[in-house]
């Protein structure tokens, strides 16, 4: 199996000598194309650092991070920005919608800068917000806002959809719907979706689960038959 995402001996080290802290300590894993990956770990385990490195918002100290053949660990700031722009769709825990833009405009804000962007209206239609297109974020519920956020990420037509605690600010049922949306998108579009979470209960829905603890990979498991989100309870 050819790795689409390949992380090899990646370290993130702060300080030196006595004060040295290793947020990521020799992390390696490979993800195949089209996998829904759940990166799970407790607070402070180093999963956020990993997310930042994968998302091109931070660089590792040593090791390689190869995304679809591009070694982003060697990238400078400008290249990282281009990488974020073209390759990453980001879904935030707190949605991070621009309050002054309508749903459609929030989606367009991202698609404007991506080279192979999808049609914003179509994407919003796909996430079930056809009727909320002209509403401002303050007029939407939390779930709806997160769907706009997902639509914004999808519309860029990125290589990876990176989701940071996507259900963290949502109630149980809404959270489930959002996860379902992500799972369906992954399986229908054959794009890689990476969900970073502390909620181990959602592990069964992933095609690939990576558990992080104390900066290291504790478990790296490819799930043969992932469970549909509807069947998971927590």
């Amino acid at each position: 199996m050819l790795a689409y995402i390949d992380v090899k001996h990646s370290y993130k080290i702060y300080g030196s000598g006595e004060n040295e802290t290793r947020a990521n300590d020799d992390i390696s894993f490979s993800l195949a194309k089209g996998e829904l990956t759940i990166i799970v770990g407790a607070s402070g385990a180093g999963k956020s650092t990993l997310l930042n490195i994968l998302g091109g918002m931070d660089t590792n100290t040593k090791g390689d991070v190869i995304i679809n053949g591009k070694n982003i660990s060697k990238y400078d700031q400008r290249q990282l920005t281009t990488y974020r722009r073209h390759s990453i769709g980001f879904v935030f825990q707190f949605y991070n919608l621009i309050p002054n833009l309508t749903s459609l405009e929030n989606v367009q804000l991202a698609s404007e800068i991506a080279p192979d962007a999808l049609d914003g209206e179509q994407v919003l239609n796909d996430v079930g917000l056809a009727k909320r297109m002209d509403n401002f974020p303050s007029e939407l519920s939390g779930g709806e806002q997160q769907r706009v956020s997902i639509a914004r990420a999808i519309a860029k037509n990125p290589e990876i959809l990176l989701c940071d605690e996507p259900t963290g600010a949502l109630d149980y049922h809404t959270g489930k719907k959002v996860l379902k949306l992500l799972q369906d998108f992954c399986h229908n579009s054959n794009k890689n979706v990476i969900i970073v979470t502390h909620n181990a209960a959602i592990k069964p829905m992933g095609d690939h689960v990576i558990e992080i603890g104390d900066g290291k990979v504790r478990e790296d498991k490819v799930v043969k038959k992932p469970v549909s989100v509807e069947k998971i309870e927590w």
Binding site: T82, R85, N96, I98, N100, L109, I113
Partner: protein, 888 residues
């Protein structure tokens, strides 16, 4: 508890430390506002106080009576008894030229009680051969030097003085001559008085007083106070009629004495003629007895005697004619404002600054305050969570608000202190310095104006403490628990522009976002526009003022006034002298055109302002007048002609006296006689008031035929040096009285311009600083309020330039709008200031040049870019990871 408070104080201290840029911004804004307000408010007052101190130190005369003939003892007694005169002192003077130069000097007899000459170095003259010179000559002469004066022909002979060479024993200052350059007009040299010196009465040949210096006992207040000035003017007005009567008596006495003398001479001549006739008869009786040669010899003395007698008769006839037609005796009384050119100009200048102080600082202060209010309310909002936490911890409302109070109080106090300090010391001194180039008033008194400092402190403190405390206080009404939750971001909303699909659809996505954001924060939008508008308007006004004033000279001397000299002669000089004068005029090299006119200095008394000097000119050949002066309608530039039933007056005079074509204007001559003159036209003029009429209308109005007394000259070479040369050459003629140089007004405008240039510079720098701080502060708030938004778009993959433009597109649009509105505001402010700022006798072109707009807009745009570069690093440093965190 004490420990807790200590931590609270620590927290307050941190607030200062972490938001140092904001703190500095507020301090700068407040100090700029206070600086300009206090500075301009006190300067005019300081100048008047300084002037008043100077006048008091010199016991300056309240009024002057000046005679063109010396006062008799009875006259002196009469003057001493004029109403309200507490003291009178008499003196006289002669004007001379420093030998081998063009420098004209007034040699005054020293006075000890009124208008004294105060010694700055050395001492006052004691002996007849000693002189104390004007203090401004200290660079050129030293004590112990001797100085020689000459008449207009450069001969060491000055009429009325016993000697012409004096030993310099000291240097003095005087309140009567406070101008440094043009001290007045004179019959000596070039016609412009350059300096003065003090000599003893003994230095005069047959000392007779011609000037009376008066002190009044009914004055209240100090120099330049309305009450003070009006009282002097009233005293002066009340006394003129009586003085005219004295002058008439003196005239009659002089005529009688002269008549008596003429009669005596006539009798004597008659006697001689009779004797001669007798001899002639005797001679003819004895002629037969004489040879032809003897007869011739005897006849010769008789012929010579006859010639002598004829000549004497002729001379007697002219003297007698002159008596009837000659210069009448005048005793003119004038207030400080009229007898003292410098006093008037100095006061005018100080009032111009008062005028500026009523417009400029208000804009500065308003802009500064608005920005402070916004900044401090923003601070109140930012600290929401902190407030909630402190409240939850059990601190009192006052304790939690302490941070705003101390922050606001300190910034307001420091800002006011700084502004008041520079405003009290630097600004007035700088402005005064520019004027002291023209006035010899030293020792500037920078007074601390408690009133204005307190007013600015009050306003500043209100603006720095209240908004923060108010916003925080409003939040404190909520429960700590809700307070600790972030406030929901301001809702987005459709803007009006979206209802115009025609435009909205054409906007690119980025501009849609920009316009939404602009209208999301309406208050900040207004503030940015207002701030930029204020600054652009101030810059336009500053540059425009300078150009408008400097345009006066170019326009005046290129478009309106073409003559260089009006050479005034004495129409009652002997025919021979007049012929010599005419020859001198005709022989002067380099004259392009010349014409004869009648010239007289009159006074207009507009109700709203001081007395205005007006030049009356009656051309001998009205058709040639346009070679010397262009008479044209100020609006249409259409030529105006002199008519038989009215006079043409200059536009500023018409404006001051509120006269229209067809109306009347009253002018007063030196003896206080009024003439009501019909206005047949109003002509364009930039500096000085004039009235032009033809000989017919003059005859009609003044009741006598015009006696031409001046030559108007236009020279080929219009340089100052050449004008001075021609003027002093002509003044050498005994028939010449004085020369009026058209460039006198030029110098006055140049001086005023010099003074204003510095003020303009100060205002421009302050306005630039204001523009910068305003843009910086507002952009800073904009960026910090939207840090999360900016972090998000960074995560989305916006390049740094795109992120900056995401914010600055708004700033630029608002700056652009602000500049456009500023154009309108600047034009208005400039118009407002230029209508009142120029001297009363100057008319200033109010049109702004396109360069004024371009420079001001250019500067504002440069500031916007500078702010952008400063902000770029702040935006660059916004941490993307901040977007991942919860809202805080």
């Amino acid at each position: 508890m004490a420990a807790m408070k200590k931590t609270l104080n620590q927290n307050i201290f941190r607030e200062f430390k972490f938001s140092f840029a904001r703190f500095i911004s507020i301090v700068i804004l407040i100090s700029l506002g206070v600086y300009v307000l206090v500075g301009l408010k006190v300067t005019g007052h300081d100048m008047r106080i300084t002037g008043n101190n100077y006048y008091t130190a010199h016991k300056m005369a309240d009024a002057y009576v000046e005679g063109n003939t010396s006062f008799t003892r009875a006259d002196q007694k009469y003057i001493k008894q004029l109403p309200h005169v507490s003291k009178a002192e008499f003196s006289t003077y002669r004007d001379a030229v420093i030998k081998n130069t063009h420098t004209t000097v007034r040699l005054l007899s020293n006075t000890s009680q009124i208008s004294t000459n105060n010694v700055t170095k050395g001492r006052l003259p004691k002996a007849a051969n000693e002189i104390a010179l004007n203090n401004s000559e200290r660079g050129k002469y030293q004590i112990g030097d001797s100085i020689t004066f000459a008449n207009n022909k450069n001969q060491s002979k000055v009429s009325g003085l016993k000697q012409t060479t004096f030993k310099i024993v000291g240097f003095v200052t005087s309140s009567d001559y406070i101008n440094k350059q043009n001290l007045g007009t004179t019959t000596a040299g070039t016609g412009e008085l350059n300096s003065f010196g003090v000599i003893t009465k003994a230095a005069f040949k047959n000392y007779q007083p011609t000037v009376a210096k008066l002190d009044y006992n009914n004055l209240r207040g100090s120099s330049y106070d309305n009450e003070f000035e009006n009282q002097i003017q009233q005293n002066v007005n009340d006394s003129q009629r009586g003085l005219n009567h004295r002058a008439n008596l003196r005239q009659a006495a002089l005529v009688n004495r002269a008549k008596h003398k003429i009669n005596q001479q006539a009798t004597e001549l008659k006697r001689q003629q009779t004797a001669l006739n007798k001899r002639r008869t005797q001679l003819s009786a004895s002629a037969s007895r004489l040879s032809a040669t003897q007869r011739r010899q005897a006849n010769r003395p008789i012929k010579a005697a006859q010639a002598r007698i004829d000549q004497a008769k002729q001379k007697l006839q002219t003297t007698s004619n002159k008596l009837n037609s000659g210069n009448r005796v005048t005793y003119q009384i004038q207030s400080r404002n009229d007898y003292n050119l410098g006093y008037n100009e100095y006061g005018e200048n100080s009032r111009k600054i008062d005028l500026l102080s009523n417009s400029f600082p208000i804009i500065f202060f308003a802009v500064a305050i608005l920005v402070c209010v916004i900044t401090m309310s923003r601070m109140g909002e930012e600290s929401r969570i902190q407030l909630g936490t402190l409240r939850a911890l059990g601190y009192s409302k006052f304790d939690t608000m302490k941070v705003f109070l101390s922050y606001g109080f300190l910034s307001g106090l420091i800002g006011t202190g700084l502004g008041a300090w520079i405003g009290t010391t630097f600004l007035p001194t700088q402005i005064f310095k520019t004027y002291s180039a023209n006035f010899s008033v030293p020792d500037f008194h920078a007074l601390i104006s408690v009133k204005w400092i307190l007013i600015s402190l009050l306003i500043s403190l209100v603006c720095t403490t209240v908004p923060g405390a108010y916003v925080a206080g409003r939040s404190l009404k909520e429960y700590p628990a809700t307070l600790m939750l972030p406030k929901k971001p301001k809702r987005g909303a459709k803007i009006l522009l979206e209802r115009v699909p025609f435009i909205w659809k054409r906007l690119s996505f980025n501009y849609k976002v920009t316009f939404r954001n602009i209208f999301r924060f309406k208050l900040r939008m207004m503030m940015t526009i207002l701030g930029v508008m204020g600054c652009t308007a101030l810059l336009i006004t500053g540059f425009g003022m300078r150009d408008s004033l400097s345009g006066v000279n170019t326009k005046q001397y290129h478009e309106i006034v073409h003559y260089d000299i009006i050479s005034i002669f004495n129409p009652s000089a002997t025919t021979k002298q007049k012929q010599a004068y005419e020859r001198a005029v005709n022989n002067t090299s380099g004259i392009k055109y010349q014409t004869q006119i009648y010239y007289e200095g009159l006074t207009a008394k507009p109700r709203a302002t001081n007395n205005q000097s007006v030049s009356l000119m009656v051309p001998k050949q009205p058709t040639k007048l346009n070679q010397f002066i262009t008479l044209q309608n100020p609006d249409s530039n259409k030529a105006i002609r002199l008519s038989n039933n009215g006079a043409i007056i200059t536009d500023k005079l018409a404006h001051l006296t509120n006269t229209k074509v067809g109306g009347h204007i009253t002018l007063t001559n030196s003896t206080g006689k009024h003439y009501r003159i019909k206005v047949s036209g109003i002509t364009q003029m930039y500096v000085g008031h004039s009235v032009y009429m033809n000989a017919n209308y003059y005859h009609h109005r003044f009741g006598k035929r015009v006696a031409y007394n001046a030559n108007m000259l236009k020279l080929n070479n219009r340089s100052d040096g050449n004008i001075n040369r021609v003027a002093s050459d002509l003044n050498q003629q005994p028939a010449a009285l004085t020369s009026i140089q058209s460039n006198g007004a030029k110098k006055m405008v140049d001086n005023l311009l010099g003074g204003l240039n510095n003020i303009v510079l100060i205002i421009t720098i302050a306005a630039s600083a204001l523009a910068f701080v305003v843009l910086f502060t507002l952009t800073n708030i904009n960026v910090s309020e939207r840090e999360r938004e900016l972090a998000t778009i960074k995560v989305l993959g916006f390049y740094p330039g795109e992120v900056i433009m995401y914010v600055f597109r708004e700033t630029f649009i608002l700056t652009f709008v602000g500049i456009l509105v500023g154009f309108v505001g600047g034009a208005w402010l400039h118009n407002f200031i230029m209508q009142t700022l120029p001297p009363d006798n100057a008319h200033v072109d109010l049109t702004l040049l396109w360069t004024n707009f371009a420079t001001s807009a250019g500067l504002t745009i440069i500031f916007a870019f500078m702010v952008m570069f400063l902000m770029a690093s702040k935006i660059k440093n916004i941490d993307m990871l901040g977007a991942l965190k919860g809202v805080d």
